[in-house]
Amino acid sequence: MFNSEKIWQWVSAITIFFYIWWIGAFIFQNPFIPNPFEVIFSSVNLFQSGEIFVHIWGSVRRTVFGFLLSLLIASLLGYVVGVSSFLKNYVSPIIELLRPIPPIAWIPMSILWFGIGDASSLFIIFLAAFFPIFTSVSFGVASLPEVYNRVSIDYDLTVYQKFIHIIFPFSLPYLFSGCKVSIGFAWMAVIAAEMIAVNSGLGYFIEINRVLLKTQYVIFAMIVIGLIGYVMNKIISYLEFKVVVWKQ
């Protein structure tokens, strides 16, 4: 998965990035632009106190739960709509109307409906993760080659057998594509939701430290968000690599 050349490219790119950042902070001399060393040193306190772990866990827990809920419902609906052109005609207009609404736009309503807390942030994450999975799965199922339909008719497969042996495996690459986009959206949505709708998590941590003008903490939390988002995407890519072996 990783070779020495790739590691070297990564290290070089990050070093250059930090160097540019350090020069920028030096030139501007602005208290709101901390240099990389301030950010790294300040993070030691956060690790020592364990505070950052509480917030990381809060955000990851919400994201994973909201993502899994979305995966379940969006994929189920995606399969049903992908198979039935009748249902597709009725569901598609609703989906097409709801899809362009950014998840953040739902935050005020979610607070009114679910109050401040996990429920409202889960609702936002669910919405953010829903559409990529639904769209990918329904498109994947609808694009099943006609020859596979004829194979299932020729061998007298039941609807269940056709789903298990043909539709589900065929749709897996599409499902994983949707999941990769979805987990990124969910992660972005959780941070936004936590800034407003809950009292814990990395989003909340960023917001509270903005108010306290602790910009080095804000930037450190942003780096952590980037790293966790990257790891989540890699986990799904790894699962795809292990499951969708016929596409490797």
Partner: protein, 260 residues
């Protein structure tokens, strides 16, 4: 299922007409009549777009004729059962060779042991034993089509429908597979399989079939049914040099040309 007229036949088509719109003036096929005997390979020969694949879909039961009858007969105590080998590679790319073959047995109430036994015999018959755990992407075009044929033969069909199964293969692979397939279909001691073979290639039709049904793209019906009159066991190299083959080839070419 309609009663068949002649007990030597496995399939009889009587004045079958079909149009996708359902209107008789838009017929793709009109008054098609021919029969397939037990243990016989019948070729459907015609230019591209003359309705050969539609005719095969009618026989397979994917679509139904607006007019005429398709009579199917069972023998040996089994119900009529047809199986298809498609023009394009139709293997499930996520299943191994063994699992792809077993797919055709899923709807049968067989024990897993029996399924394994059938799959093993198919692997042997089609010379696929070394590839049973490979995925389709790891196979050549010829091997893929062997797997598709093994899958179609596994449920022991009464009629094997082959829609240009060799069209995606190179010449050498095609020759070897055609020779093997004729032997397998006609020398299968366990059952009597008949076959309908669709092609637009005249040489393929002569080598592979016992009789050839020429489809007329103008009248959308059967132009002529030609008896190939060649021995059951055929050697391609010898056949290509024989005067009978050359004359038949010339005749079919001329007839097809006159029809277009």
């Amino acid at each position: 299922m309609e009663t068949i007229n002649n007990i030597d036949n496995i399939l009889e088509l009587e004045k079958v007409s079909f149009s996708f719109s359902g209107k008789s003036n838009e017929n793709i096929l009109e008054d098609i009549s021919f029969e397939v005997k037990k243990n016989e390979i019948v070729g459907l020969l015609g230019s591209n777009g003359c309705g050969k694949t539609t005719l095969m879909n009618l026989i397979a039961g994917f679509i139904f004729p607006q007019k005429g009858k398709i009579k199917k007969m069972s023998f040996g105590g089994n119900n009529f059962f047809s199986s298809l080998v498609f023009q394009e590679f139709s293997l499930l790319e996520w299943k191994t060779v063994r699992d792809n073959i077993e797919l055709s047995l899923i709807s049968f109430d067989f024990s897993q042991q029996k399924k394994n036994r059938i799959v093993n015999s198919m692997l042997k018959l089609l010379k696929l034993e070394d590839y049973e755990n490979k995925l389709p992407k790891q196979l050549s075009g010829g091997l893929k089509q062997r797997v598709a044929i093994a899958r179609a033969l596994a449920p022991n069909p009464s009629l094997l429908l082959m829609d240009e199964p060799f069209s995606a293969l190179d010449v050498k692979t095609k020759e070897v597979l055609m020779m093997d397939m004729r032997k397998i279909i006609l020398n299968n001691n366990e059952s009597e399989v008949s076959s309908i073979f669709i092609t637009h290639n005249i040489e393929e039709a002569i080598f592979f079939c016992d009789r050839i049904v020429l489809i007329n793209p103008l009248s959308k019906g059967v132009k002529e049914i030609v008896n190939v009159n060649l021995p059951k066991n055929r050697q391609l190299e010898k056949l290509l040099r024989s005067s009978h083959f050359l004359n038949l080839n010339k005749y079919l070419k001329k007839t097809l040309k006159d029809l277009t």
